[in-house]
Symmetry: none
Subunit: 234 residues, 2 copies
């Protein structure tokens, strides 16, 4: 049921965004032509779904539109399970616990024919604890510091052995497959710097708070990186 699935995806996409989405964005996202998006929008409207659109602006869906209850097909359940296993193995332990908890909640409401996919999923992510705690060193403290916007003091040792102590403003964490890096504003250099978590020798969260701005934020850093490399980081 390809088209019906897509219509449902359209409603969730349009409902999830604060800002509008253009037909071009929707067609890119869903892998169909813009003409098909126009048809889909019309179909939804004819079916009573309150899609709002303005020429030259884009579409959105009223936040008050009630979606049907949550359903996942087999593919989606497998993807969610694989994601939870990846987080459990390659995220920090707290993150892993939350991933497992959320999966238990999802499994609990699945119909019987999907419920036992966890036990039988042939997509494994081994937990080799020593290796993985090495790569997620300090992750939990840093996630909290990012959220609370607290400055952090670190002792860092570069690959070549050179050590430094810095006070930084943590903005985000990036997973590169095994290795995590921290994106931060470094007061020592007065610029963005990235630090591999496994090379942070010591870390202390300070009481001191920081502010972000248009020119000092994770999004700003990502725009700079995209301009340099043209790569997609989400």
């Amino acid at each position: 049921m390809l088209r019906a699935e897509r219509l449902f995806q359209l409603t969730t996409l349009l409902r999830n965004r604060r800002t509008v989405l253009t037909a071009k964005q929707l067609s890119d996202h869903l892998g169909v032509s813009e003409r098909t998006i126009y048809r889909d929008i019309q179909s939804l409207s004819l079916s009573g779904v309150p899609v709002e659109g303005e020429a030259g602006v884009g579409y959105r869906l009223s936040r008050h539109y009630q979606l049907p209850p949550l359903m996942f097909d087999r593919h989606e359940v497998e993807a969610l399970l694989l994601g939870a296993r990846m987080v459990a193995s390659w995220g920090d332990p707290e993150m892993g616990r939350h991933a497992k908890q959320s999966m238990q909640k999802i499994l609990a409401v699945l119909p019987d024919n999907l419920r036992h996919h966890d036990e039988n999923l042939p997509l494994l992510v081994p937990q080799i604890n020593e290796a993985q705690h090495f790569y997620t060193a300090h992750s939990q403290a840093l996630r909290s510091a990012i959220r609370e916007r607290q400055r952090v003091e670190i002792d860092y040792q570069r690959e070549d052995g050179e050590a430094s102590t810095r006070t930084i403003e943590s903005l985000g964490l990036i997973f590169w497959g095994k290795v995590w890096t921290l994106v931060a504003w470094c007061q020592l250099r007065n610029d963005y710097r990235t630090f591999r978590l496994d090379r942070i020798q010591y870390l202390r969260v300070l009481e001191d708070k920081f502010e972000t701005s248009d020119n000092k934020s994770l999004n700003h850093y990502l725009k700079l990186m995209e301009n340099q490399c043209g790569q997609n980081t989400n």
Copy 2:
């Protein structure tokens, strides 16, 4: 959207009933053949709608369908989002699409204060497509072969350059952070063998099916590995 409308009507009809409805009753009500009703019921079931049915009795919708939306807290939403990003970046493209779709569904039913976490989550997983398609080579075909229990013919090149052609029985895929390996029963060696996906030069799924047994299955392989290493693979 005749069929999509009808599927929606089916869920509505089945949900509002205390008693079951037969395929004949449903076909009369919706003006289609019974064969079409059987197909619709199967489609709904495959999409994760919990339709229950008994031979000679009829259909109804599981009480699960009427449960309140799942409730996730902020930590769980973040863990799910990180998992989806990891799958999108380090799983194969199809798996990534399913991860994103399932996340949109979850986000759509969240309260407003949690819905926009996707846009703001400071935990990133870059998509560097060339690298990641390298590591997930043949993943989609292999997932299908595992599920359908179809033998596969591969040309494999080891790290030292030695090449071989084998017919194998694919049992599972393992993610080691960047690298994926295939666990298979190798007919050439009459034993389990693992193969890095990025070293499979060529792969063809055969029509030929295989059986698993207590002594030839992913679970058996994992028990052997645990006895050797004592590590936790889930």
